[in-house]
Amino acid sequence: MLLIHCPYCDETLPELEFAYAGEAHIARPVDPSALSDEEWRDFLFIRTNARGTHFERWRHIHGCARFFNAARDTVTDRFLVTYKAGESRPDLTVKESAE
């Protein structure tokens, strides 16, 4: 069972309080009708499925109920960082070199 830091509650809590919500930073197109079938498919279905750092969404469903983003290593399942919804993708190379 993973431990997850909710950036809204600022607490690290067990996975049972959270629901996984798929890949992050896939914004719904502003005007879907302007998209080709292929572009719409990409939005609907195509996923990075990264082996390594994966940007993904979680919801603190049994807590504050907020959706937030996380970067997690899918090989070790270790969370690198969690951040609020709407914030841009963090630059993890900077973080790593600072460590």
Binding site: M1, L2, E15, L16, A19, Y20, G22, E23, D37, E38, R41, D42, L44, F45, I46, R47, T48, N49, R51, H54, E56, R72, T74, V75, T76, D77
Partner: protein
Amino acid sequence: MTHFSAMSLLKNALTGHKNWREQWPDSQPKAEYDVVIVGAGGHGLGAAYYLAKEHGITNVAVIDKGWLGGGNTGRNTTIIRSNYLYDESARLFDHALDLWDNLSQELNYNVMYSKRGVMMLAHNVHDVQSFQRHIHANRLNGVDNRWLTKEEAKAFCPPLNISPDARYPVMGAALQMRAGTARHDAVAWGYARAAAARGVDIIQNCPVTSIRRGPDGAVIGVETAKGFIRAKKVAVSAAGHTSVVMDTAGVRMPLESYPLQALVSEPVKPIFPCVVMSNTVHAYISQSDKGELVIGSGTDQYTSYSQRGGLPLIEHTVAAICEVFPIFTRMRMLRKWGGIVDVTPDRSAILGKTPVKGLYVNCGWGTGGFKATPGAAHTLAWTVAKDEPHPINAPFTLERFTTGRLIDEAAAAAVAH
């Protein structure tokens, strides 16, 4: 290849088993192949075997980052059935079932395909409706599947709890008699041995780092830990790692990889005569030839390549088993493990051509890839050999995610009200 038989076993026994030869050689890559298959699981090895046997294409390499059969082939709960709802799925899995039926003899390797019957439990009115729909559709598709009352289900599987007081009481079951289990490792080994005997190279411990394409966009080979291997055609059959491999060819996939856990109990004398699946309480169980209860779990909620899963899911899986089979609470769990399953948006496989010339893919089997092994391998070999879809795998295209013609077995069993 030494032919396996009771006689050869006896003869070798008398000579101290000193004369058995290796079942497949540990090949080093050649510079060029007609076909390179990425992933030496049952699907990949099987495709190589059928390429050689049915299409005469023997200049084939199957390349794996680890040991053959070390991925989901060797990590699943070995359930084999074909009672799927949609025509497309029923045809594919029933084709596999036909091949399973003769696979031991075909490969001269006992894969222990055991037609023990797979019984799927209905726990509510919605389940009953859904199973009846499956049974009717299966009947008209020529796929065996029949309805059992709860008393008949109990008679077929005596450990079953059919008490009306259960939290999810059993209301009946769908039974496919031709379904069952097989010995997973033997499938990989049998295909490997038979493919190698026909000239296929099996190259283990050789990660494919990328798929290379030529100036015209067509595939020209694969970069591996042992150098570049030229290939006219490349088929990717890498299960949970398919996204990563396909990405190197510039093909982004509608796949997500999830951890899937399974477990076995300590071995006991025969107590469980069939396979039982309950989607409502998430319990999947059979008993192996060795006597272990083999139990499957659901996927964890997050994507992962770690081959580890969490404890809570296992607790729920075991609880589900004990709910349906209360006599097993004093049995002990011996071992549990995890695999990585690749899941598509409609939970059906992608099997066939890709937008890249010379590149083929076989993936997205989710939790149900083992049962498809011979069928997927057989039709993939056809598609690779002829560069065109096999009638059975034709619906399982990548394009369906663009056009909307999904094959959504899971949605068809949707629970709402």
